[in-house]
């Protein structure tokens, strides 16, 4: 998030796109409800009429996968009407002229044709967003989990820069992070193309700094992403895999392919707290601990570094995960990796990562600090890009609408959208062992529009088979107008009827995110 969670309630207009906020980030929805109470206009763009959409001033029911067209359409209207922020565009950005020309062809008529959103609603949304004193964009996986995920994000950046709704209190672009520490994992470069703190593998000074600190020679060639590693296993490129607290056998697209890959490994090390579907395939299993049995930090969606604290002793012979990694390193004969506590690890991070340089356990004992925090005296960065963007001027990057990788056809006539349910979390390994949550729901379902259900003679509660080019699952039907006719929705938490048996492993070409939000399926009543 460029803003903080607290700021959202002061926004005068909030554009929620591809975020089922009350379900996936309920306590951020709190601020949206508060903003609404204070008179803010709420716009929701989503192919499903989500819970928060029923509290929106304007709900734009887009066709799946048409976000770029929607945003380009809004930009077209905003620029045509002169509602853009001329001063901001002039002082803080570059490439506006190119955008302006590019956006010409996204006329309301054409955009309405692509997206299914009436022209009048596009105009209303454009005016609401552009003219409000502070507007914020809130987005989530509905934007990113597409083969055009990066394009979607770029078009949102274009919208916020053109309207000057960034770099101010309650104004900015706010991706909601799905996991407690996905921000921290990324900050620490548990990603293949950078070093901790987004420092470049191509920068000699950076490499020298890390090589001195770690006493080794570092590899310069960027590594592989999860999806690329899966493919590399099949071809013998990767032979040993260390999986810490992940469950690709439920979370990754096209699970049958994942299973084949994992089974062909020469060594699969899995470190986890539960015997997950991935643990079942391991050669060696290391018992880690839960958040309640260790110290450390999580970095939340608004870049807030907060401490977690050990409340109980590890269960059985389980060990804190940080300690296990050190144990493995020692067993490999690595000389480094002697830490008395996570606090010492954090100090090493602060010494190597400028974004974290001013943060220490003492400073975040009470409340967290939001990075960037470059010195011991520097305060939290509450919102980013105040006077300048990290690279100076913000560059408009016009993007063209592209259709999703797999659209319905005669054989597979429905669009499948996957996502989260309100009562479970990710692959369910934790929440499906929680009685309050399984008491709410413990079975997978498929949301089907009433018109489609009628056509297929599927009744509520009936077992329904969904089949894609990759596999099939049988789940219970929920008949609801939340989904559009022609689309169905399945939550992905349930391993025994995993939605990811169906999903398409087509990737965004840049960041390699799979297209979880759209693939083609057919529906059959199970006799």
């Amino acid at each position: 998030m460029t803003n903080s969670v607290e700021e959202l309630e002061d926004a005068a207009c909030i554009l929620i796109i591809g975020s089922n906020t009350t379900v996936a980030h309920p306590i951020i929805a709190t601020r949206i409800f508060r903003a609404r109470e204070k008179g803010a206009k709420i716009i929701v763009v989503d192919p499903r009429k989500t819970h928060i959409a029923s509290y929106a001033d304007l709900y734009l029911a887009e066709k799946s996968g048409t976000d770029v067209a929607v945003i380009n359409g809004l930009l077209h209207i905003i620029i045509k009407e002169g509602w853009y922020d001329k001063e901001f565009v002039e002082k803080r950005t570059e490439g506006f002229a190119v955008l302006k020309t590019f956006i010409e062809e996204y006329t309301p008529a054409r955009v309405s044709e692509i997206t299914g959103i009436p022209e009048v609603q596009l105009r209303q949304a454009a005016e609401m967003f552009a003219k409000a004193k502070q507007s914020s964009i809130v987005y989530c996986m509905g934007i990113t989990q597409h083969t055009v995920g990066v394009d979607n994000v770029l078009s949102l950046a274009n919208l916020s820069m053109a309207t000057g709704h960034i770099g101010k209190w309650a104004s900015g672009v706010n991706p909601l992070r799905g996991q407690n520490n996905v921000q921290g994992s990324t900050d620490m470069a548990a990603i293949p193309n950078v070093l901790p703190g987004y420092q470049s593998l191509a920068d000699d000074a950076v490499i020298a700094k890390f090589e001195t600190a770690w006493g080794v020679t570092l590899p310069r060639k960027p590594g592989l992403t999860i999806m690329e590693m899966m493919d590399a296993i099949g071809t013998g490129g990767i032979r040993a895999l260390y999986v810490m607290g992940e469950n690709p056998m439920v979370s990754d697209p096209d699970i049958q392919h994942v299973k084949k890959a994992l089974e062909s490994l020469e060594l699969l090390i899995v470190q986890d707290i539960f015997p997950t579907e991935t643990v079942a395939l391991a050669h060696v299993v290391l018992p880690g601990v839960t958040f309640a049995e260790k110290d450390g930090t999580f970095v939340s969606t608004d870049r807030r570094v907060q401490r977690i604290r050990k409340a109980i002793e590890p269960i059985g012979e389980a060990r804190p995960d940080w300690q296990i990694i050190c144990d493995v390193a020692h067993a490999m004969g690595a000389p480094d990796f002697d830490y008395a506590s996570p606090s010492e690890v954090f100090d090493e991070i602060a010494s190597l990562v400028p974004l974290f340089a001013g943060i220490s356990y003492d400073r975040i004992a009470e409340n967290g600090i939001q990075w960037p925090c470059r010195t011991k005296e520097a305060p939290s960065t509450v919102f980013m890009h105040k006077d300048t963007f990290s690279k100076g001027l913000g560059t408009f990057k016009p993007v063209a609408y592209k259709a999703p990788a797999e659209l319905p056809d005669e054989e597979y006539p429905f669009i499948l959208i996957t996502g989260r349910d309100a009562f479970h979390y990710h692959t369910g390994s934790m929440t499906r062992r929680s009685k309050s949550l399984t008491g709410q729901i413990n079975r997978c379902y498929v949301q089907i529009h009433p018109a489609d259900a009628k056509k297929l003679r599927i009744k509520a509660g009936q077992l329904t088979r969904l089949r894609s080019r990759r596999g099939a699952i049988e789940v219970e039907a929920r008949i609801t107008p939340i989904v559009q006719s022609g689309s169905v929705f399945v939550p992905f938490h349930f391993a025994e009827t995993a939605a990811n048996v169906l999903t398409n492993p087509a990737l965004d070409p840049v960041v390699k995110i799979p297209e979880f939000k759209i693939c083609a399926v057919k529906l059959e009543k199970v006799a």
Binding site: Q179, D302, I349
Partner: protein, 136 residues
């Protein structure tokens, strides 16, 4: 005599970063209270946050290291599991090079743990093949 205390920590589910108080009674988690003074959630939680203690004491927890022997995962001591890993990893990376290794890190684990696993991958093995489920 009963020991009851609360421990201030952060919810382990989504990325919002809500402050929670874990209620600990005689060494066991007995409940969660929303932290009233955390600036993010200000005393509010969703149902997952309110239930964040429930999975911790699940009987399904892995309590000992396991190593596959004759096709079956069997409980072993830590030393055995660690030396098994070390010898296999060394053999594979010596035979096929460091890029034959890959690591999936975890958005559920701490910042420090993510730092350590990427340091292990880059500094001990010598590859940049590390990723986590940010995209999933």
């Amino acid at each position: 005599m009963i020991d009851y205390r609360t421990v201030y920590t952060i919810c382990p589910f989504c990325g919002t970063g809500c402050g929670i108080l874990l209620e600990v009674m005689n060494g066991r988690l007995e409940g969660v209270l929303p932290c009233k003074t955390n600036p993010v959630n200000q005393g509010k939680l969703c149902i997952k946050g309110w239930s964040a203690h429930e999975f911790v004491h699940s009987p399904d927890r892995l309590k000992k290291p396991l190593v596959r022997k004759d096709g079956r995962l069997e409980e072993v001591e830590w030393d055995e599991a660690l030396s098994f890993i070390a010898s296999r990893l060394k053999a594979i990376t010596q035979a096929y090079g460091p890029d034959s290794f890959g690591a999936f890190s975890s958005a559920k684990c701490t910042t420090e743990e993510n730092y350590l696993l990427q340091k292990f991958t880059r500094a001990v093995i010598g590859t940049n093949n590390i990723d986590h489920c940010a995209r999933l």
